[in-house]
């Protein structure tokens, strides 16, 4: 279970996580070691066993859609790194 450099870069890109050269090497080694340890799961017979997503039996929870006050735009934008009027300001999303 050895992750190569391309695989590490691929995962980092999926996660939109910038990594330094040192991190690429270190995470490659550490993740490989951990995954090797986690291989023990392959020994477990799970034929016919359903997966558990959460541990308490509950069905989808719905509630009535009742109109109620929400946070004010000022509150919502108070932590914004960059804003313009009542909007979050971001760099161009669509590239040429």
């Amino acid at each position: 279970m050895k992750l190569n450099r391309e695989e590490v870069l691929h995962i980092a890109r999926l996660a939109r996580l910038g990594l330094t050269e040192a991190e690429i090497t270190r995470f490659g080694e550490q993740l490989s070691n951990l995954l090797e340890h986690f291989q023990v799961l392959q020994q477990v017979d799970t034929e016919g066993v359903p997966p558990t997503a959460q541990s308490v039996e509950m069905k989808s929870v719905m509630r009535d859609d009742v109109i109620a006050p929400s946070l004010s735009p000022e509150d919502v934008l108070a932590n914004a790194p960059r804003r313009e009027d009542d909007c979050f300001r971001v760099k161009a999303v669509l590239e040429e």
């Binding site: 996660a15 990594l19 070691n33 541990s55 932590n79 914004a80």
Partner: protein
């Protein structure tokens, strides 16, 4: 001065002390102890004194509830309106939430006083509080050792007498392991028992909020205040909330306790094993019947946990994009800004888990890793279910070792992960568990873990209380 909550309540109710006096005494203790232990990210002195004045008015009007005027610490992963909530991360170092968590609203309504926000492993990922991006917290029993984690600051605030009690969060042991390492009481409630609205999400199928306190009675009092359904958290369960103080009884007659042998294995320090033997004998003397039981899938818990928790974390932490709040790197393009925001905003352990989780969820690996882990999770859960057909509770150590030295495990993720080996299965199954002081090995604390059925916190509290009253370990206080 380290009054328990119920002791302080008696003094407040009988006007022997005011909440302002009690709060000032704790703030003074914070000033003395903080340079050595560093439990708090933010000390909210002004707010605390305002809340104490309000509490004194309520007490004068004869409206003193069990938590009115009581100084508490809140883990810095729980949102507090107007008070910065950092998750001990550079990413949220200056984040001021626009709303409070439900548990904070409930404590406010109960008249509690908040002395500050407690340090933790960044985004609650860790077992020693060394992953805080801000600073390291020290164990009051030995300042060269870790307090455990991730709720290390909460446990230390209680152990060092800086607060009467605290709230923490527990995803794989983050309340119980530091409680054990600091000789305080820590409860992880059943999944769904306490609302998580306003808890910054780490692994949503595992996270729970719970109390850290000096004794079991205080644990019951905080549980009474924070439990219950919340329409803002669709995973909270609409089960009625009992009065948890009613389960504090002094004997264990008729109680059937299981001792799962997989928790007493290699890697366990001999001193811890000896203390556990004595603890089991004490439980028998109190009237319980003890029997060895086997939960054969226990050894797979570590792998299951470290696939499921990072997978959920990788999705939850996708929100930190530098756009809406938090640290933001102003790069050349949108993608560049996002990647560098996450590169510079997250610390090494958070990055490691995001990478691990992203890998386990990625195309081609999802079935082999994530779904496989979820299936083994079912087997672990079923084992607990069948054990609880025969036993009222299960007894294990909280950790296989006493608190380790600061720096001892920071270079070896797997060694660090292994320190949670006794607490991880409980979150996987979603059942409740409590850690209570069980004695000391060479002056260092050891915790005993009591595990119960879904929504049977009362059983845990009963066993914990009877043991606590018979041993009194909690009375021994760290000197800082």
């Amino acid at each position: 001065m380290p009054y328990t909550i119920h002791e302080a309540h008696e003094l407040l109710k009988n006007k022997k002390i005011s909440s302002v006096e009690l709060t000032k005494a704790h703030l003074e203790r914070v000033r003395q102890a903080e340079p050595k232990v560093k439990a708090f990210v933010t000390v909210t002195e002004k707010l605390a004194l305002e809340q104490a004045q309000q509490a004194d008015k309520a007490i004068a009007a004869g409206k003193a509830g069990p938590l009115t005027g009581i100084p508490l610490a809140i883990k810095d992963v729980i949102c507090t309106k107007g008070v910065r909530t950092t998750c001990s991360s550079k990413m949220l170092e200056n984040f001021v939430p626009p709303y409070s968590a439900t548990v904070v609203e409930k404590l406010n309504a109960a008249g509690a006083v908040m002395v500050g926000k407690a340090n933790m492993d960044e985004f609650a990922m860790g077992s020693s509080t060394e992953n805080s991006a801000l600073f390291v917290t020290h164990n009051p029993w030995d300042l060269d050792r870790v307090p455990g984690g991730s709720s290390g600051g909460s446990a230390v605030a209680v152990a060092a007498g800086e607060a009467c009690g605290a709230l923490g969060s527990d995803t794989g042991g983050s309340i119980r392991q530091p409680a054990g390492f600091c000789s305080v009481v820590g409860l992880k409630p059943t999944y769904g028992r306490v609302s998580r609205y306003g808890l910054v999400a780490f692994a949503s199928s595992l996270d729970q909020i719970g109390p850290l306190t000096q004794d079991v009675t205080d644990c019951a009092l905080i549980m009474n205040a924070i439990s219950g359904h919340d329409k803002r958290d669709s995973t909270s369960v609409p089960e009625p909330v009992p009065d948890y103080t009613k389960s504090l009884k002094n004997d264990l007659k008729g109680m059937r306790l299981g001792v799962p042998k997989e928790y007493y294995v290699e890697g366990m320090q001999p001193g811890v094993a000896d203390l556990m033997k004595k603890a089991l004998k004490k439980l028998e003397e109190l009237g319980a019947t003890l029997q060895e039981v086997s939960l054969p899938h226990t050894p797979y818990s570590l792998a299951v946990y470290y696939i499921i928790a990072p997978s959920e974390a990788s999705a939850n932490l996708a929100r930190y994009d530098g756009v809406k709040y938090g640290f933001s790197y102003n790069g050349d393009t949108m993608w560049d800004s996002m990647e560098k925001t996450r590169q510079h905003g997250f610390g090494p352990e958070v990055k490691r888990r995001i990478m691990l989780g992203t890998y386990a969820l990625s195309a081609g690996y999802y079935d082999a890793w994530y779904v496989k882990a979820q299936k083994v999770r079912t087997l672990i859960r079923r084992e607990f279910d069948s054990a609880f057909e025969k036993y009222d509770a299960l007894i294990t150590p909280t950790s296989p070792t006493v608190p380790f030295k600061i720096g001892e495990k920071t270079d070896d993720p797997l060694a660090m992960y292994l320190s949670d080996v006794c607490t991880l299965p409980i979150n996987i199954a979603g059942v409740p568990a409590i850690s209570i002081p069980a004695g000391f090995v060479d002056g260092l604390p050891v915790g005993m873990q009591i595990i119960g059925k879904h929504f049977r916190e009362e059983t845990l509290l009963r066993v914990a209380y009877a043991y606590e009253q018979a041993t009194g370990w909690w009375r021994k206080k760290a000197v800082v």
